[in-house]
Every structure is written in structure tokens, then in C-alpha cells.
């Protein structure tokens, strides 16, 4: 198998599957080239992430990336989360085959987009 045990484990038993409702923010990102899709919801209280949830369709690394990302988010501060990129997600999965790195990139996009949305809401509500 080309995938790490970690990828397979997250693919077969993904964590935090679902969607969170208001006041959580939700974003949905798509890789238009291959159609992979991740929906990410996160609930922040102050600058701490309290809850996260995901749904995903795509190849196993996409599902695993979304799953491991949620795991990485819980109890982190927003500024810690701002540092999560594709490299960190890939590392958390013990690596991805070269031609599957786009999965981690998509998950990273999801969290960065979610962060922006939170910041935007904070800014507009304050």
C-alpha cells in the first residue's frame, strides 16, 4: 500500500465527522481539477477552538487530511492555527505520496478560509 498507516486509519475511521451549526463557521472548499471537496466547521470561543467537524468526498488522503486537521485544531489558539499549512497536515499523516499532496493542500485551504471567515465576523461584529 502506498499510504501510511495513519492515512488509512483516518480514512477508515475519520474523526469529527459532521457539521456544526451557528455560531460555528462553515466553509466548503473544492479542488476543481479533481473534484475533491471538504466542508469544515469550527467553533471558536475567544481565540480558542472549541469544536471542529468535517465532511469530505475524494480520495482517501482527502478524507484523512480533513480528519487529521480537525484533530489538530481542537484547543488550539487562532494564531497557532494560522500556522497550519499543507506541510503540517501531511506530516501529521506521516506523509503522502507525491501525487496526493493536493489533499493536504485542500485541507489547509479549508482551515485558512475558515480562519478568515472568523476574523471577518469578529471584525464586522465588533
Amino acid at each position: 500500500m502506498t499510504y501510511s498507516a495513519k492515512v488509512l486509519e483516518h480514512f477508515e475511521h475519520p474523526r469529527f465527522v459532521g457539521e456544526l451549526t451557528h455560531p460555528a463557521v462553515s466553509v466548503e472548499v473544492v479542488n476543481s481539477a479533481c473534484g475533491d471537496r471538504i466542508k469544515l466547521s469550527i467553533l471558536a470561543e475567544g481565540s480558542i477552538i472549541k469544536a471542529a467537524a468535517m465532511k469530505a468526498v475524494g480520495c482517501p488522503p482527502t478524507i484523512a487530511s480533513a480528519s487529521v486537521l480537525c484533530e489538530m485544531l481542537i484547543a488550539k489558539t487562532l494564531s497557532e492555527v494560522a500556522k497550519i499549512g499543507a506541510v503540517q497536515i501531511e506530516a501529521a499523516l506521516d506523509g503522502l505520496p507525491k501525487n496526493k499532496r493536493h489533499a493536504a493542500v485542500l485541507a489547509a485551504e479549508a482551515i485558512q478560509e475558515a480562519l478568515e471567515k472568523i476574523c471577518h465576523e469578529v471584525r464586522t461584529s465588533s
Binding site: 477508515e12 479533481c34 471537496r37 471538504i38 475524494g58 480520495c59
Partner: protein, 393 residues
């Protein structure tokens, strides 16, 4: 250990013990070079010519019409390039169809870059070429028609005999038009007679019929001139240079004999395939069965599972010990979409959720039952993960 079930026989097959046994002596004992005059060489030569007779017999050809080479890809390359180059001054138009194997499509594309014109016939939703389209495409410049016997992803079987008749009729007017068919997926699965099919060239690959990888053959009708693509020694009547792969050749002929003798087994395979399709349709909602229902190989089933990703299904099944494929074996390692299903008009979202199940005569009902037992759960699990599934319902 998990059970290992192989439903990917259109990608490749295991080598039968009888076949491995037949080739064994030509590895370690009768290892001469067939071009050598001494008895080591003559023993090898005799084995090659015996294999040639057997393989020829299995498709109704003359032994002199068989060229042994390294596989289906080389056979397609030699047929297409060989005819195109031999007829270059007569005309530079080739007709093929949109969902041929890459060994045909990419060879045609290479010729396009060198000034040939290629028409790609449509295959429609049912995965079948229409003779009307072919008739319309033929011009005075047309020197080669290459249409696969059966498609490797959906199994639809083309009307080769009808096309053969068209070509023979044109040949009453002019001699320089040739008909090639890639029979890599049908040889050993459907009865094949080259005269009845009316083909001038026909490609065969060993590893799809329980012979080893690295051996194949091209039928070249007597009198058909080809430009060889491999220059060197005078092997294969100057049609393919290189020391003959004696054990591979012996194995191919043995596997062909066994396949043809067991063509009956395809009734059993058809039963398994139809049972699988019925059960999947019954147990799993939102599936599509791809390709014409009747005019197709008995051993291939191509099914779209809406709202899931094929690779996810494939990996989940693999973790249960079941091997299947998403699209053609040779493209499933890349992120390319199946050009076969695209040619049949399936949109991207449907293509990505498609699996191919392909059987051999050694698969069992028990194996299919195991698949049916595990697959519905897997599909459901993955669908529930999809952000689009709830909307879609």
C-alpha cells in the same frame, strides 16, 4: 491474514501453473537461441514454431501470419505505425474511436504530430461505434481503420465483422486500406476467427490470459506489408528484431490453448457478473451500470456509485482483501479521469465514482458473495462522509 480476492483480471491475470510449467524447461534446460544452428538452438526454434502453429490455430490464422513481440502495447504500435508508414505515400488518414486503449490513442496522436490526420469516432452512451459514422468518415485518403474488439473498461464489443465487410468492399476498389483490431481484452474470452472477423491485423497480449507479462503477438494477414518498428536481426520474418522470448512464446501458446479450450467457462463468468450487478442494484441505491447491456464481454462490469470517490471505494475494498479497479489500470495511478467513460458522455462526478469489476474463469460465487457482503456498507460509509450526499437525497 485477510482473504485475497482478485476482481481485476482485465488489468492482468496470474500465470496458470500449467503455463508456468510449460515455460519452465525453456528457461533452464532448452535455453538455446532460436537463431543458433546447433541443437540447443534448434530445440528452441522448434518450440517457437510449435507455439506459432498453436497460436495461429487458435485464431484461424496461418503460422506465418503471427508475429511474436513484447505485449499488447507493442502489437498496437507495430500495427498502427507499421501500416501508416508503409502506406504513407498512398494516404495519411486513420480512423479509430474515442475510447481506444492509450496504446492506440497515443500512437495515433504521435502520428498526428507527424502529419497524419486521425478521425476519432464517437462511442455514444452505450459504448458502441456506429458503422454509419465509420462510412461517413472514410475518405480516399484512409489507409487504416483501427477499432478495438472490446473495450477494457466497460467491456462493450464492437461490430468488428461488419466493419470487416465494409473494408473488404472498399478493397474491391482500391487495395491500400487496412483494418486493425485490438483484441487484447477478447482473445481467450470470445471465440475469434480472423477470417470471419475480416481483420488484417489483430493484437494479442499474454498477461491478460494467464500467460506472463512481456509477451504478446500481432496477427498480420499474409500479403500485408508493415514497416518494422524494431530493426536488427532477421527474427519474425523481419517484422520484429530481437532474440525471441522463447519461454514467453511457449507460455503464450499454452495459455491460448487453455483459454480457447475453456471458452465455455464464460457462461459461469457471465453468471457471476450478472449476479453481482443484480445484487448491487438491489442493495445499493444510486448506482449506474455502464455500457450496452448485451453487446459486451461476459467478464467485465463497470458501475458508477454516485456521490463517492472510486479510489476511496477501491482502497476500502483493498483493505478487505478485494482488488478492483477504477478505470484503466494504467491510468488509475494518476489523477486522470477515465477517457473511456468521458467518451461515453458521463460527467466528471459520475466518472470518479466508477469501479470496474473484471473476472476470470477462476473466480467463484463465494468470492462474489463476499464482495456483495462488504460493499454496501463501504458505499454508505463514504456517502455519509460526503458534504453533498444529504443535499442529493
Amino acid at each position: 491474514m485477510t482473504r485475497r480476492i482478485y476482481f481485476d483480471n482485465s488489468a492482468t491475470t496470474f500465470v496458470l501453473p500449467e503455463v508456468a510449467e510449460a515455460m519452465q524447461p525453456y528457461l533452464t534446460e532448452f535455453y538455446g537461441n532460436p537463431s543458433s544452428v546447433h541443437s540447443f538452438g534448434q530445440k528452441a526454434r522448434a518450440a517457437v514454431e510449435d507455439a506459432r502453429r498453436k497460436l495461429a490455430l487458435s485464431i484461424g490464422a496461418d503460422p506465418s501470419e503471427i508475429v511474436f513481440l513484447s505485449g499488447g502495447t507493442e502489437a498496437n504500435n507495430l500495427a498502427i505505425r507499421g501500416i501508416a508508414q508503409a502506406q504513407a505515400d498512398k494516404g495519411r488518414h486513420i480512423i479509430t474511436c474515442q475510447f481506444e486503449h492509450p496504446a492506440v490513442l497515443n500512437t495515433c496522436a504521435a502520428l498526428e504530430k507527424q502529419g497524419w490526420r486521425v478521425t476519432y469516432l464517437p462511442v455514444y452512451k452505450d459504448g458502441l461505434v456506429r458503422v454509419e459514422d465509420l462510412l461517413e468518415a472514410i475518405t480516399d485518403e484512409t489507409v487504416l481503420i483501427t477499432i478495438m474488439h472490446a473495450n477494457n473498461e466497460v467491456g462493450t464489443v464492437q461490430c468488428i465483422e461488419e466493419i470487416g465487410k465494409v473494408v473488404r468492399e472498399i478493397r474491391l476498389q482500391r487495395r491500400n486500406i487496412f483494418f486493425h483490431s485490438d483484441a487484447v481484452q477478447t482473445f481467450g474470452k470470445l471465440p475469434i476467427n480472423v477470417k470471419q472477423l475480416g481483420v488484417d491485423l489483430l493484437s494479442i497480449s499474454g498477461h491478460k490470459i494467464h500467460a506472463p507479462k512481456g509477451i504478446g503477438a500481432l496477427f498480420v494477414r499474409k500479403g500485408v506489408r508493415l514497416v518494422t518498428q524494431s530493426t536488427g536481426g532477421h527474427q519474425e520474418r523481419d517484422r520484429r528484431a530481437g532474440t525471441e522470448n522463447v519461454p514467453g512464446i511457449v507460455a503464450l501458446a499454452r495459455a491460448a490453448e487453455l483459454a480457447v479450450a475453456n471458452l465455455d467457462a464464460f457462461a459461469h463468468i457471465r453468471y457471476l457478473r450478472d449476479y453481482l450487478e443484480d445484487e448491487i442494484s438491489r442493495l445499493i441505491p444510486d448506482v449506474l451500470l455502464n455500457g450496452h447491456r448485451e453487446r459486451r464481454l461476459p467478464n467485465i462490469s463497470n458501475i458508477t456509485f454516485k456521490h463517492v470517490d472510486g479510489e476511496g471505494l477501491l482502497i476500502s475494498l483493498d483493505l478487505k482483501g478485494i482488488a478492483v479497479s477504477t478505470g484503466a489500470a494504467c491510468s488509475s495511478g494518476s489523477t486522470e479521469q477515465s477517457h473511456v467513460l468521458a467518451a461515453m458522455g458521463l460527467d466528471k462526478e459520475l466518472i470518479r465514482g466508477s469501479l470496474r469489476f473484471s473476472f476470470s474463469r477462476f473466480n467463484t460465487l463465494d468470492e462474489v458473495n463476499y464482495l456483495i457482503q462488504v460493499l454496501p456498507e463501504i458505499v454508505e460509509r463514504l456517502r455519509k462522509l460526503s458534504p453533498r450526499w444529504s443535499h442529493a437525497r
